[in-house]
């Protein structure tokens, strides 16, 4: 057991730190329009890319840095610790790219990967539908072969960044005769066509990060099928695994930052001696540390066995619990100021409600732990 960094790892971290401190874009200026906000994040990603820091974990041959798992983790920790904004194309960098690297053909990788890194082509994830959320495999959006194309009709919902996206990771039904998991295919759909209409959905925070997609006979060339016709479920799982695990290192650092802000808030409010407040801080501090430790444990497991251990499936669930508890605590601490929207705490408090829904609800994650890790029977 050795929880220190090797000299190489330390050198890598120093290099990341030095680069970030020389290139940090600063805090996002206040009062930007939504377009300018987006541009800020696109510019930041370009800068990351020029420094060789976009796609850190991707292989070098595809324009990545070829970093080891530990190096990627360190990079994500440092980036979060610097409070730099997230890169614009986060869904493609964290989920779409790795999916393509795992399941795509050489031509697809050459065509699609470079513009992900440069943020020239933004990606979104078209999985969920109005009737198919947790039960993703029941989805109804249909793709029918027509010559060299597929013709797609259906509806998607909660599609984050669809309004910026050039490509959509689309899962559609290509065979309704077979079992529901087997009739699915994973496509890259061009969002820039009349047949795809994007309508923004406002969230409880007032922002509109996500959208509805109305797809009416949109065309997708056959060469944009990823991983083969009928294999969509397996390819989609790769995307979801990356969604649930890849972000852990950034998330645990963000928890730490928030915790630091909460401790400052406790002091500002003169509540350091309140026993109840102290108990909650002690608990939240401990839970955030455990989340960090388990992220590293999971990484050791992946390096040794190729897979995260049981704790790997717990991270996203644990994180959403802690983040919700922390943000609720900020509201308690602010008393009558709490509902006022002139503080970021209020926004974060509302935004955290999505944590236990996005990327798989907590109930679904518990089902997965019960069935796959503990081997309990399925309810069916």
């Amino acid at each position: 057991m050795d929880l220190t960094l090797s000299p190489d790892e330390q050198a890598f971290r120093d290099e990341v730190r030095a680069w970030i401190s020389d290139n940090h874009p600063g805090k996002e200026p206040e009062g930007l329009s939504e377009d300018d906000q987006w541009k800020f994040r696109v510019d930041w990603q370009r800068q990351l890319h020029e420094g060789g820091w976009a796609g850190v974990s991707w292989p070098k041959e595809y324009g990545g840095r070829g970093a080891t798992l530990i190096e990627s983790a360190l990079f994500n920790e440092e980036l979060a610790a610097s409070r730099a904004p997230g890169p614009a194309n986060v869904l493609a960098l964290a989920m779409g790219g790795p999916t393509l690297i795992g399941h795509g053909s050489e031509e697809q990788k050459e065509r699609f990967l470079p513009p992900i890194l440069t943020a020239e082509e933004i990606w979104c994830q078209g999985f969920s539908e109005p009737e198919s959320g947790s039960d993703l495999a029941s989805l109804k959006t249909k793709a029918v072969k027509d010559g060299d194309d597929w013709v797609v009709t259906g509806q998607k919902v909660w599609t984050t960044y669809a309004h910026h996206a050039k490509w959509c990771m689309l899962v559609a039904r290509t065979d309704s005769e077979v079992a529901k998991h087997r009739g699915l295919t994973y496509f890259l759909m061009d969002m820039e066509q009349e047949e795809v209409q994007v309508r923004p959905l406002r969230q409880i925070t007032g922002e509109a990060e996500f959208n509805e997609l109305f797809i009416e006979e949109a065309r997708i060339p056959d060469e944009n099928v990823i991983g083969g016709v009928g294999n969509g479920w397996m390819v989609a799982i790769t995307t979801l695994m990356n969604e649930r695990s890849g972000l852990a290192f950034g998330l645990q650092v963000r928890l730490k930052i928030l915790l630091g802000q909460v401790i400052d808030l406790v002091k500002e409010q003169g509540l350091e001696k309140d026993p109840l407040v102290r108990q909650r801080i002690g608990q939240l501090y401990t839970e955030s540390e455990i989340m960090r430790l388990n992220a590293w444990r999971g990484l050791t497991g992946i390096m040794k066995t190729g897979q995260p251990g049981p704790e790997g499936s717990l991270g996203k669930w644990h994180w959403s619990d802690i983040n919700q508890a922390l943000t609720e605590f900020t509201m308690d601490l602010r008393g009558p100021d709490a509902p006022a929207t002139d503080s970021e705490f209020t926004f974060e408090f509302l935004r955290a409600r999505a944590n236990s829904i996005e990327g798989g609800t907590t109930e679904i994650l518990k089902n997965i732990v019960a069935e796959r890790v503990l081997g309990l029977p399925k309810l069916r």
């Binding site: 929880l3 108990q279 002690g282 401990t286 069916r380």
Partner: protein
Amino acid sequence: MNFDFDDDQRSIKSTAREFLASRSKFEKVRECSEGGHYDEAIWKEMIDLGWAGIFIPEQYGGQELGVVELVILQEELGYAVTPSPFFSNAAAGLMVLHAGSDEQKERLLPGVASGEATGTVGILHDGSAPLVPDAEAASFIVLAGEGDTTRIVEAGDAKIEHRDTIDGTRSFARVSGEGEEMPGDAGAGLDRACAALAAELTGCSQRAMEMAVEYAKDRKQFERPIGAYQGVSHRCAEMLLETEGARAATYYAGWAADHEPESLPAAASMAKAYASDAGWRVTASSLQVHGGIGFTWEHDLHFLLKRAKTDGHLLGGASWHRDRVAKIAGLGDAVIAQV
């Protein structure tokens, strides 16, 4: 960066698991618990395996391994709820090693390492230590407390009053008495003992969770295994979350004790606070999964539940340790003391 045991540590773990699986079965736990005694043969074998002195320097007759190795043994002892004075003796050894003078170390550590003159530790509250494990059989007792001088009390100089507790797998007493002062760092010893206790709690949680999962696969109601119901399966998933959390915090505390002592106070209190809660919640939740049978004396689960609850109150309860974490996190000293 490697958050896993090395080969030697892994072999200590598997030896302990196998040894306890054959020598400390639930029948044995029950026999000792109902008879109110320890199994001398198991304790002797543990000593022969070198366990009692695992972390004690060779010059005092120990194996000179670390707190990580102690944590490994403690987790297995918790898993088997083994009735033995192992923990109390180890805690006393840690106190002497870190708070004792050279003379005290030379005099006391060999007896701890050989099991021939065992020690124990008590935390003082208003002049006496209310819950001291294995005091009646110990040859010395280390008493420590906030605002008290840490001291070594010879068994003959101590007032020892037996106390029955819910945990029949160990013996407890209230202890008071004066003795010789220990000049060193009592906190360094106590923090390491807390890591060891957190490990025992992790082992109890792991076992109780496994029992719940097994039962949930077997037991059928309404024509289905009860584990198919989310009221049950989600409970089990939550047991895993808490058990793994306790484990991560405990291993970290063990590692910090050996390699990064400046992080130990926070690490030990995080481990003790979290594992105390987890130990109780997981064993209680396992009882719920078992239904009526889990509430019977006949069933073995209550040994784990009671050991875990009792461990939770040794060397500072969860609230005391959480408060300390808050202090270390920047909130300064408390005004109202937690216990």
